[in-house]
Amino acid sequence: MLSCKEVTHLLSEAQDRKLTLSEKMHLEMHLAMCKGCSNFKGQMKFLREACLRYVKARSNGDE
């Protein structure tokens, strides 16, 4: 069983590479019963989106 700390590392790496099937399964099992890590996952997704918008807002002439 993965610890929350390990899960945060996997969730960060998931932003950079494709996780292996076994990593994904362990991750999903943990997320299914851990609210804190599910929220962490949502926050990683949010950060990616925020960075994309940040760059877009600066490099587009439409603003």
Partner: protein, 199 residues
């Protein structure tokens, strides 16, 4: 003269785009003089290589693409003389702060459990959010910020970032994790729960 040159030789437009470019470059390079130099170079390169542009939007996107490349060239050059993986005191204290979020069994302490941020769209629409986001980015230690921004702002693959900065993959992962956790904690305490009573 084509439309691109016309726009670039228009003082008002040039000043506006230059300001945005310097802000963007400064965030990544953390050095005023370097940011100005790199923007200068990008603008000169843009003028020396003009094409037809349908409008301001396409021109700005294109100039920013040139700027991103110039920033990366500079970062590559600097990486030869700096050790990006060396930990500063700031980075060490971020790692300690991260460790303190967990109990001895490596699960969240009750107070540190990440919160649900609700509908992200709502935050992304608010000007106040972007001010906090900006401040949180500037608050990241230099090397940590550099790796994170190459990945997220210059949109490089992680392998390319590691290679450009002479980092091992695991080192890169550690740095990106540190940056993401630092940013999320900064946003959580300064935006998402600002004004809320601690429970």
């Amino acid at each position: 003269m084509n439309a691109g040159v016309n726009l670039l030789t228009n003082d008002g437009y040039l000043e506006e785009i230059r300001r945005d470019m310097i802000k963007f470059a400064h965030l990544q390079l953390r050095d005023e003089a370097q940011a100005e130099d790199v923007v200068q170079e990008a603008l000169v390169a843009a003028l020396g290589n003009t094409r037809e542009f349908a409008g301001r939007s396409a021109l700005k996107t294109w100039i920013f693409a040139i700027l991103k490349n110039k920033i990366v060239d500079l970062i590559r050059l600097q990486a030869r003389t700096t050790n990006v993986s060396a930990l500063s005191a700031e980075e060490e204290s971020m790692d300690q702060a991260f460790e303190s979020l967990f109990k001895s069994n490596a699960h969240w302490t009750p107070g540190a459990r990440p919160n649900n941020w609700g509908d992200p769209e709502e935050s992304l629409r608010e000007q106040g959010f972007w001010e906090v986001f900006d401040a949180c980015l500037k608050h990241l230690p230099e090397n940590t910020a550099r790796v994170f921004m190459m990945r997220e702002f210059l949109e490089f693959e992680t392998a390319e970032v590691c290679q450009a900065l002479s980092l091992t993959t695991s080192n890169c992962n550690v740095i990106l994790h540190r940056a993401r956790n630092g940013l999320r904690r900064c946003l959580e305490s300064n935006w998402f729960s600002a004004g809320e009573q601690p429970c």
